[in-house]
């Protein structure tokens, strides 16, 4: 699976050259707000469209309904997009091949689901084996059936693909961006949530990593099925699987340096697609 530009629509020019690029979605989008990527004479300013729903935007609540015409996109996400001027391209359009000027925005999603999952008490006792990396397993813990975890996640994501389709139809072509890799330090994560009045235990860092990775693998699979660009930031921002310390902010989010690194990645991908 190539994590490259894979749009199914015809591009005229890439959005982003002397233009703004919107990163929409969960709180991981906030790091991008206001950054500028300058390459030669080209300058791309990023802005965030933060979906501030109470439970966070995740793969399970991107949309309701499971048919192309009957899907309702998360209302808070629509508000966030409208706020930055990303209006629906056509209220009545049902034509998926409608041509627009390149990618209008990126959706960052998947971080909330994994972190919430990691707070379940079972993960204090259990670890999980990803089929692709069974050797990364804590032998001092019990093994949670991977098939069950996958089954539950896929059930929760039953409306996700329909939501992606509805987003594209209503707001134009977009790409999906992963959140940053997990932080290696549980303590920092706990402190981050305690500072917000949330008392939580988290799964061990390797377990958190696996839980998050599988969510993103499922998102990638949905994107591939729909021909949506999927940009995995992990290979570009990780050190020894976890978020590079240079990009850490608060135990959960990436910092501005992270956003600038990913921003350069996105601008480069846009330019490569345009040429």
């Amino acid at each position: 699976m190539k994590r490259l530009w894979q749009t199914g629509t015809r591009d005229r020019k890439p959005t982003g050259s002397n233009d703004g690029l919107t990163i929409a979605g969960d709180s991981h989008c906030l790091a991008f707000d206001g950054i500028e990527i300058v390459e030669g004479t080209s300058k791309t300013r990023f802005r965030s469209a933060f979906c501030s729903s109470a439970q966070g935007l995740g793969v399970t609540n991107l949309a309701e309904g499971d048919t192309l015409h009957g899907t309702t996109i998360n209302a808070d996400l629509r508000i966030a997009l409208d706020k930055v001027g990303l209006s629906p391209i056509s209220q009545d359009s049902t034509d998926d091949s409608q041509i627009h000027e390149g990618i209008r925005y990126f959706l960052v999603i998947g971080g909330v689901d994994a972190i919430v999952e990691a707070t379940h008490p079972d993960w204090q006792t259990y670890d999980i084996m990803l089929p692709s990396m069974v050797t990364l397993f804590d032998e001092n813990r019990l093994c949670f059936p991977f098939g069950l975890y996958a089954q539950r996640l896929r059930h929760g994501m039953r409306n996700f693909s329909a939501g992606l389709l509805a987003l594209r139809r209503q707001y134009g072509p977009f790409g999906v961006l992963t959140p940053p890799p997990p932080h290696a330090d549980n303590r920092q994560l706990i402190d981050h949530y305690e500072s917000r009045g949330v008392d939580a235990l988290f799964a061990a860092s390797d377990t958190r990593w696996k839980l998050a990775r599988f969510v993103l693998d499922e998102i990638e699979r949905c994107c591939a099925d729909l021909g949506l660009p999927f940009v995995d930031t992990w290979p570009h921002t990780a050190s020894d699987r976890f978020l590079d310390p240079a990009f850490e902010m608060d135990g959960f989010h990436g910092n501005r340096a992270y956003a600038e690194r990913v921003g350069r990645l996105l601008v480069g991908l846009l330019r490569a697609r345009a040429t």
């Binding site: 008490p121 079972d122 084996m129 050797t135 059936p145 098939g147 069950l148 996958a150």
Partner: protein
């Protein structure tokens, strides 16, 4: 017996030991054993589960994965040879050559040949399957070492073996998972001498690991759904049940910590006139299970001081008396039914 109301017939003899509420009672065996397992708490007895699974499993997920169906997640144990080999495997004395099967039906996944139905879509990796097997066998060791009572329901004499090491599978390779290979696999219908010897060895084995364990043997009244013997299924059923009954009698006579409880007789005896079977002539009715457990309670629970009134079950748990008297029949996992339904295009357990 002809003058006794059918529901009051109690063929249980005096038993050599009684059960206390604090006794940890383990169960294993064929489909009928699941009724016993589920009924024990209703009788105020302690059903011992050594392998519970993740806390967050919903009840349907737990049942689908057979957590709590028996005292450990071994699935149905149909033959005495299978029981003996489970004990030997748990204590490191036998490692079958058959390591894993692959799921059929175009489903990816790995299956433990000795527990082919405990993970609905198979394990996602071999490593996970190996881990689970090791964990399960550890649980069986713990179970045998610490149970006070072991109730074993004998189900079949027919089975499938690996020709290389005589390992017994609970179901035919190739039915649902695995691949049948006539060079590797063979049908086996155990004879009375074999069954008796295996049963006695299994009981003695448990006792050697746990000198205070007591064993209750019972024969499942559920007839065979099919037979590979070449005989009519009715003839095969009578043969199997007869062999199992003789073996249970012989072993309970030979070992003073072992006794026989007549589930088979209660359900199939002439007093019942066949009314304890549902229309499929296999599934035991709620009334049949009630009758069995009523007699079980009377035989084994000493000094409960209760009397049977109007033929209704007398239970130790007051809350249980307001619930349906038996768990839903649809929740009983029977590999034979499962396989039959799978080939019929249905994936539901049970008959409804």
């Amino acid at each position: 017996m002809v003058e006794t109301p059918p529901h009051a017939v109690d063929p249980a003899s005096a038993v050599p030991f009684h059960l206390a509420p604090s006794d940890r009672i383990a169960t294993a065996g064929s489909c009928f054993a699941q009724h016993i397992a589920r009924y024990l708490p209703k009788l105020g007895l302690t059903y011992y589960i050594a392998e519970r699974g993740p806390q967050r499993l919903s009840e349907p997920e737990r049942q689908e994965r057979q957590y709590g169906t028996f005292s450990a997640r071994y699935g149905n144990i149909y033959t005495t040879r299978q029981m003996l080999q489970l004990l030997q495997r748990a204590f490191g004395e036998f490692t079958p050559l058959a390591d894993h099967w692959e799921m059929g039906d175009r489903t990816e996944g790995f299956v433990d040949p000795f527990r082919p139905t405990i993970e609905p879509n198979g394990f996602s990796s071999l490593a996970e399957m190996h881990w689970d097997r090791a964990h399960h066998l550890r649980a069986v060791r713990d179970l045998v070492s610490s149970a006070d009572v072991f109730v074993f329901t004998l189900g079949l004499t027919e089975g499938w073996i690996d020709r290389r090491d005589d390992a017994v599978f609970p179901s035919c390779p190739g039915c649902g998972s695995g691949t049948y290979d006539p060079d590797l696999h063979a049908f086996k219908n155990f004879g009375v001498a074999e069954v008796t010897e295996d049963l006695e060895r299994a009981c003695r084995y448990m006792r050697s690991k746990n000198p205070s364990i007591r064993v209750i043997l019972t024969v499942s009244p559920v007839p065979l759904v099919a037979t590979m013997s070449g005989n009519h299924v009715l003839a095969s059923t009578v043969y199997s049940k007869s062999v199992l009954r003789v073996a249970a009698e012989a072993v309970s006579n030979a070992l003073d910590y072992c006794c026989y409880f007549p589930s088979f007789e209660i359900v199939t005896g002439p007093h019942a006139r066949g009314t304890y079977f549902r229309d499929d002539l296999r599934t035991i009715t709620d009334h049949g299970v009630d009758h069995v457990m009523r007699c079980f309670l009377k035989a084994f629970v000493q000094g409960d001081g209760r009397r049977e009134e109007h033929g209704h079950p007398v239970v130790a748990d007051k809350q249980a008396s307001s619930r349906p008297s038996t768990p839903s029949i649809t929740q009983i996992v029977c590999d034979e039914e499962t396989l039959a339904n799978r080939y019929a295009g249905s994936k539901t357990y049970g008959i409804e």
